[in-house]
């Protein structure tokens, strides 16, 4: 496929011509610069009522900045915003709301201890009429099939439900223009399906204009009418969705032909033909167990069960994928294996030896390497240098008698910088001066250079661009080949199907299914992720 990268992309409805009379939103020549990075460079975008406009691009392509400009969170350096024919200046989100623009955010902006109706009413002026708000919520949820209890406490709702609240919150103001920012990243396949139904209804039946921001090709192909592709802050193409296919879109998005399997996975193109998978199937039953979780139970502060009698083993050289919708216990699991959280029951063994939980550094010393979900949270120290970040965990190789040997440290750091291709000005550069992908490489370099027995990789490719994703998956595979047991925690099903030898599905803190990669079936995993035992 895709031997001719441009084949699938046609110059469809040209965006450069005069906007059709009925354009809901028209962005002209928008520019925004952050320091040396041009986030938006002369971007044009036209949203039509009654149409879903996809905005596709890698992380850092400028889609989010553009949408933030439209919602009034970011003021552009230059360019014009026209809404329903009137040129406007959007100074803040309230301004945008008055012009009928609403947004469903990728990261929820809900207050957890408050009830649904309270959250929906937040930000309203004047006197509060709880019963009116409740009635309106019921009305909206009936109309769009977004069933939710207005009196439920948001903190107790599952993630999919919370997104419904976000959508209701947005629809309550009856916006004529709605922006969905990466809406499916926290949903099960079934929930995504339902979301797109709502989307369809909002657009086709009610004639609203919708912008769907995404980096997943499947989603764009399925749910949009036209698509604008951005790369490095520029619009590289604008086409009708009917006239393109996945490989064409991918090529336009990345800027080159995409053929490698792992890249396609990175772009969210699901290979439905699983038989063609080239996952090396090796027998791992004979290799020793490097990680064993026995009946691990964790309660949160309110006594609610976060992890429920988790049993899990990883053998040397094996990649075990933990699939599941975000927020079902993956984060606490990674935290436990990082010694950040103590468990309430059960025990954990690394290479046969019991490891105390919640004790500073115990897991790391026992040989558990971790690539954390949020590296700024527990992976790196932004204010320290690259060299120091490379020896956070184990200072023995670079110190003598408690005194750091800076020369050895810098020399060894330079070697790792070369080996892991970290782009930086030198070992002394502060970590915050690196791009996200390079920060991730520093974490990877540190964890792998400590000769781990187990490597926990939690959402290891999140927020990385395609090249960095390829690099990461390649490294994980090589680590497994070298005999490290890899526990891959990911909410990207494609990633798990691509890498794992064995797949575990986690839902609501329990393991509800386990299968070999060869027996893996997309539909079955999808159902399990939704909490159904199959």
């Amino acid at each position: 496929m895709a031997d001719l990268p441009t084949s699938g992309v046609h110059a469809g409805a040209g965006p450069s011509g005069p906007a059709p009379a009925g354009a809901a939103v028209r962005l002209d020549q928008i520019c925004k610069r952050y320091g040396s990075v041009q986030a938006c460079d002369n971007v044009d975008l036209v949203l039509q009522p009654g149409r879903v406009h996809g905005l596709l691009g890698e992380n850092g392509a400028g889609k989010s900045t553009l949408m933030k400009i439209l919602i009034g969170l970011v003021i552009p350096d230059s360019g014009a915003v026209t809404i329903n024919g009137d040129r406007v200046r959007l100074r803040d989100p309230l301004d945008a709301a008055e012009h009928g623009i609403g947004m469903v955010h990728q990261h929820f902006s809900l207050v957890e201890p408050l009830r649904v109706w309270e959250n929906v009413a937040l930000g309203e002026d004047g006197k509060l009429h709880p019963s009116d708000v409740r009635d309106r919520i019921v009305e909206i949820s009936d109309r769009y099939g977004l069933d939710v209890d207005p009196d439920a406490v948001v903190g107790e709702l599952p993630v999919g439900m919370r997104q419904r609240v976000e959508i209701i919150k947005c629809l309550r103001r009856d916006p004529s223009i709605i922006i969905f920012d990466e809406p499916t990243s926290v949903l099960t396949p079934a929930e995504s399906e339902q979301l797109f139904e709502t989307l369809h209804q909002v657009v086709v039946d009610e004639g609203r204009a919708v912008a769907l921001v995404s980096h997943k090709l499947d989603e764009i192909l399925k749910a949009t009418d036209e698509v604008t592709i951005m790369r490095q802050g520029r619009v590289v193409d604008h086409v009708l969705t009917d006239s393109v296919d996945a490989s064409g879109l991918a090529a336009a998005m990345v800027g080159r032909a995409v053929s490698l399997r792992s890249e396609r996975v990175a772009l969210g193109v699901v290979d439905t033909d699983l038989d063609g998978a080239e996952v090396p199937q090796t027998e791992h039953e004979s290799t020793p167990e490097v990680l064993r979780l026995d009946q691990v139970t964790l309660l949160n502060r309110d006594g609610r069960t976060v992890l429920d009698q988790l049993d899990l083993t990883v053998r040397a050289g094996e990649i075990v994928g933990v699939a599941g919708v975000e927020g079902n216990g993956q984060r606490p699991l990674a935290d436990i294996l990082s010694s950040l959280t103590d468990i309430d029951e059960g025990e954990i063994r690394v290479a046969g030896t019991k490891v105390p939980t919640g004790k500073a550094g115990a897991m790391a010393r026992a040989g558990v390497g971790v690539i954390p979900e949020d590296r700024h949270d527990s992976g790196v120290v932004l204010d320290m240098s690259i060299a120091e970040n490379l020896w956070l965990v184990d200072t023995k190789p670079v110190s003598r008698g408690g005194v750091l040997d800076h020369r050895t440290m810098n020399r060894a750091a330079a070697t790792l910088i070369d080996e892991f291709e970290i782009s930086c000005s030198g070992p002394d550069a502060p970590l915050f001066s690196l791009s996200g992908g390079n920060q991730q490489r520093v974490v990877l370099a540190r964890e792998l250079s400590n000769d781990p027995k187990v490597l926990v990789a939690a959402q290891p490719t999140r927020g990385l661009d395609v090249g960095a994703i390829e690099y990461m998956t390649d490294r994980l595979r090589r680590a497994a080949e070298d005999g490290v047991g890899v526990l891959l925690i990911s909410s990207e099903l494609e990633e798990i199907l691509d890498l794992a030898h064995r797949i575990i599905v986690i839902s609501d803190g329990r393991i509800i299914g386990e299968m070999d990669r060869n027996d893996a079936d997309l539909e079955r995993i999808g159902l399990m992720m939704g909490g159904q035992t199959v």
Binding site: S64, R256, L392, S423, F432, G436
Partner: protein, 413 residues
């Protein structure tokens, strides 16, 4: 507008040299070959490409900021003094005479700078670990009281008692900070509150000691009636003073400076310093990496209190405060001013040496202000303006640094 991916892939062929190195391009985006020969593009972040030039520029900025702020403070002060009928030239001359220009005044200033520096070093240690110890005034008082007890109440004298006295001060200060540490790590009580509140407790406790002869109060003979002070340290139990260029000061000045460099080196070059900084910057990363907060954080609090205690001991045995006698109100706000010294030196122990001297000069200089005839309230405002001028630049620099990090750290778009 059809995309031509070939366009992008064509560029590295012509523009990518094998020896091309990262990070010094003027372009917004640099190009490099990925692992399998494919092209990866990442936003170029402006790294300091030439560290020395960068550092020079940074130093230039700091000097400029201070110049502007101090000039503004001096200008405002002059206006204020003139407007209220005084002579601004007289006020500034008095400040200079009292701190450095008058004969022997540099020595007096050094004598004040010593405890300021010690308090500041301790503050830097706890700050680096992410803890806010603001109770140095109390830790210093307890340290001085411990020192006074061992120096006067046991009936020993001689040079070795100086050492004993100082060790006692260190233990006293550490103990007082240790209470806050224990509460922090067993009961989760914020150390900001406990250290601050313990200042009051310390003052009451030492006050009690000064009322009771079995504790600190000097015997009735040789003491003016009803004065609540300790006995004076014997002649041979005082820190020796030396004279250089007509300025006399205790030799503890050298010890304090050596300790400042020692701590600066320990922070940058030891595993302990690395772990302490890790804890301060990112406690979760530190926990994962094996830095137990209770051990390292508690340790930092103890060290911080120990330095404040040592400051108290050296004040008592150094002679610049209280005439070798523990008196009520002995700490004389050195503990509070030491906090400012740490703040202005922006957590660097070696810089604190200079800043401690500047604050000490402000203090000794103000002693001469009364002689100018300018009203006390006005001279107080002048002092306040000068302190503000010293505090604003570090605050601005800190804010800017944070903003830069926020901009470059948030890579998610």
């Amino acid at each position: 507008m059809t995309v031509e991916p070939g366009h992008a892939t064509a560029q590295p062929g012509s523009g990518h040299h094998p020896d091309h190195h990262h990070g010094v391009d003027a372009d917004d985006f640099k190009r490099e070959l990925g692992t399998d020969g494919t092209l990866t593009e990442e936003p170029y972040h402006p790294n300091p490409s030439t560290p020395t030039a960068d550092r020079l520029q940074a130093i230039g900025e700091v000097v400029f900021l201070y110049t502007v702020c101090i000039a503004a403070a001096l200008g405002l002060s002059a206006l204020l003094v003139e407007a209220t009928g005084g002579s601004s030239a007289e006020v500034f001359n008095a400040l200079l005479d009292g701190s450095i220009r008058g004969p022997g005044r540099i020595g007096a200033t050094i004598g004040v700078a010593v405890p300021l520096l010690l308090v500041a070093i301790g503050t830097i240690v706890s700050n680096r670990a992410g803890l806010v110890n603001i109770g140095q005034e109390g830790q210093l008082y307890i340290g001085a009281a411990f020192g006074a007890y061992f120096g006067t109440k046991l009936g020993w004298s001689g040079p070795w008692v100086i050492l004993l006295l100082l060790v006692a001060s260190v233990v006293g200060g550490a103990l007082w900070a240790g209470i806050a540490g224990a509460l922090r790590y067993t009961r989760n009580v914020p150390e900001v509150l406990t250290t601050l509140l313990l200042v009051t407790v310390a003052a009451q406790l030492v006050g009690y000691g000064l009322k009771n002869q079995w504790l600190l109060l000097a015997p009735a003979e040789g003491r003016a009636n009803r004065q609540q002070i300790s006995q004076q340290l014997p002649e041979n139990t005082r820190i020796p003073r030396i004279e250089m260029f007509g300025n006399e000061f205790p030799i503890s000045a050298f010890i304090a400076i050596a300790l400042a460099f020692l701590i600066a080196a320990a922070m940058a070059r030891t595993v302990w310093g690395l772990r302490l900084r890790m804890l301060g910057h990112n406690p979760r990363t530190a926990q994962r990496a094996g830095v137990a907060a209770s051990r390292y954080g508690g340790g930092a609090l103890l060290v911080s209190g120990a330095f404040a205690g040592l400051a108290g001991g050296m004040m008592l045995a150094g002679g610049d405060f209280g005439n070798y006698t523990l008196v009520p109100g002995f700490p004389a706000e050195i503990g509070w001013t030491g906090l400012l010294v740490a703040l202005v030196s922006r957590q660097r122990a070696s810089v604190a040496i200079v800043i401690a001297f500047v604050f000490a000069a402000l203090r000794t200089g103000s002693g001469f202000l009364a002689a100018t005839g300018v009203e006390r309230r006005i001279t107080d405002v002048v002092q306040g303006l000068l302190v503000l001028a010293l505090l604003i630049p570090p605050a601005l620099l800190y804010l800017r640094q944070r903003r830069r990090q926020m901009n470059s750290g948030g890579d998610r778009t």
